[in-house]
């Protein structure tokens, strides 16, 4: 569904990504893990065309999307829940969800998606009229996911869904994400710093460090953890068989 080939992104003289390849199949949950500053968010922003790659290609369903505009990418069915969630705090919860429908005119289906989001996240329904800035961190994360869903995406990228959230809420968020794949056939690309949870949820896993993919493959093949550990840190730790990250 999404083919990233030899992607390179630079911020001025700094090369943030080099030679990144990703191949994400329809209906799967793919995860990119890696330490801080590895280029995870950069990868997602390049997919959303917020950043323009200096080299390489991003093909979505056979159409090149690199170097287009973010609004076009959104229109094609790619939605992003960015790092820091970027909720519109001066808008109400309801209005935040409404902004998600910017590209759509299918009124009946919009209503259906709206009801679905409120069903998935009942708290958003209760706080419908409240200013989104007053929501707690977990509620904001749910709103960010709900808002992304309102674009009726086929492919959704999520940047660090567990960041700053209590473990219980993280569990709930992952439950919802897995459910979205099961019930709606949504393809997901999740970025996380820690590989533990990502390994559990993902079908395929990529380890990104220093701007390049160190390891990529089926999550089932990577369960033993040693290879992931080595790719993540750049050295293997023989005393610890477990992934401590």
């Amino acid at each position: 569904m999404l083919e990233v080939k030899d992607l390179e992104v630079r911020y001025g003289r700094l090369t943030a990504l080099r030679g990144v390849d990703l191949s994400i199949r329809e209906g799967e949950i793919a995860c990119i893990v890696g330490p801080n500053g590895a280029g995870k968010s950069t990868t997602l922003l390049a997919i959303s065309s917020v950043l323009t790659p200096t080299a390489g290609s991003i093909i979505f369903d056979g159409t090149p999307i690199h170097g287009t505009r973010p609004e076009e990418v959104a229109r094609m069915g790619i939605s992003q829940v960015p790092e820091g969630r970027h909720i519109f705090t001066s808008l109400s919860v309801e209005e935040n969800l409404q902004v998600g429908t910017a590209t759509r005119s299918d009124k009946a289906e919009m209503k259906r998606d709206y009801d679905r989001v409120l069903e998935t996240f009942p708290i958003l329904g209760e706080r419908r009229k409240q200013s989104a800035g007053k929501l707690s961190g977990g509620e904001q994360q749910m709103l960010a996911i709900g808002r992304a869903l309102m674009t009726n995406p086929r492919f959704m990228t999520i940047d660090e869904p567990s960041l700053g959230l209590a473990p219980k809420i993280v569990d709930r968020v992952y439950e919802v994400l897995i459910d979205l794949r099961e019930k709606r056939g949504l393809t997901l690309l999740i970025v996380e710093q820690s590989s533990e949870r990502a390994l559990k949820a993902a079908d395929s896993l990529y380890v990104l460090r220093n701007g390049s993919i160190q390891l990529g493959g089926k999550a089932a093949d990577l369960q033993d953890g040693k290879a992931v550990h080595k790719a993540y840190f750049g050295f293997s730790d023989d005393h610890e068989g477990e992934v401590m990250i």
């Binding site: 609004e71 705090t89 808008l91 902004v99 800035g133």
Partner: protein
């Protein structure tokens, strides 16, 4: 009592003009992060559009002679078109430039507009009597007479503010505009067309400028190619002390600056009145020292962590 009411009406009507101009600036700042110093010149053009383009010292009304129901839309269209041309020729090519570059671009645009006005209409101020019967007084209560125009200015301002609020909160495009003003990149990632939102903001800002053009020129009866500049200056101050990025702040700031000006005008000893603006600016500096974020904190900057 009667005197107090008179002063209040003066303050409200002057504050209204500043608030309307400040709203036009604030709206554009929201989505473009542009402080449009050409906004005052948009206001000037709206006023000049009333007369026949010529360098003659005596102004001949053109659009100004039309029935108000045709006149007002005509002026609005002129200013909106001017604002959209500015967007296409100046602001859009500078879209990825820094806010400072954009601001300087708007200064340049303002000078170009002023000089075009001088070329077409000449540099001398012209008297233009339009709807002069509006300056006749209305008796609010025994002993208190205010010009009809003051009531109209306050009324028009209230109506426009209500309409703007309804647009921003009740319509799809209004909600999009508020979203874009808070987080432009996120709005685009959700599929909101950047250029469409900006053009809409530019157009609405132009409409507000046209309203100020009309109210201002009817009040002063004079056309001057610099007439919008001082208005812009005070409106800009209003947005700054109100809190950059907050529309409520722009309105509060507008009324505050208007009130302070009128109060100084009324209560300063007559020989000091010429220095009124010095006192206004001194108060502005004081406010910025005490509350650098402005009187009304924009909601975007109050984000919950």
């Amino acid at each position: 009592m009667a005197f107090a009411l008179q002063v209040l009406m003066n303050a409200l009507s002057l504050g209204s003009l500043y608030a309307l101009a400040a709203l036009g600036i604030g709206l554009l700042f929201g989505v473009l992060k542009l402080i449009n110093f050409a906004h005052g010149d948009f206001i000037t053009v709206g006023a000049y559009a009333l007369i026949v383009p010529s360098a003659a010292t005596q102004a001949t009304l053109l659009i100004g002679d039309f029935h108000p129901l045709i006149l007002i839309p005509c002026i609005v269209v002129v200013v909106v078109i001017l604002a959209l041309i500015a967007e296409f020729l100046v602001f859009r090519p500078l879209r990825n430039a820094s806010p400072a570059t954009l601001m300087i671009g708007s200064f340049a645009l303002g000078f170009v507009i002023q000089n075009i006005l001088i070329m077409i209409y000449g540099g001398r101020p012209k008297a233009v009597g339009i709807w002069s019967d509006l300056s006749l007084g209305v008796e609010l209560m025994p002993g208190v007479e205010v010009p009809k125009l003051q009531l109209i200015i306050i009324g028009v301002t209230l109506v426009l503010m209500v309409v703007l609020v309804l647009f921003l909160t009740k319509t799809k495009y209004g909600v999009h505009m508020r979203a874009a003003a808070e987080d432009f990149r996120m709005a685009r990632m959700l599929g909101i067309e950047a250029n469409r939102v900006i053009m809409l903001a530019v157009a609405i800002s132009g409409m507000l400028a046209a309203a100020v053009s009309m109210l201002f020129v009817v009040q002063t009866g004079i056309l001057d190619f610099r007439m919008g500049v001082s208005l812009m200056l005070f409106a800009f101050i209003a947005t700054v002390i109100g809190g950059m990025g907050s529309l409520v702040g722009a309105v509060v700031g507008g009324f505050a600056v208007g009130a302070v000006s009128i109060l100084l005008q009324t209560f300063l000893p007559s020989e000091m009145r010429v220095f009124r603006d010095v006192f206004v600016f001194a108060i502005v500096i004081f406010i910025l020292l005490v509350r650098p974020q402005g009187l009304v904190m924009s909601r975007a900057s109050r984000e919950r962590v």
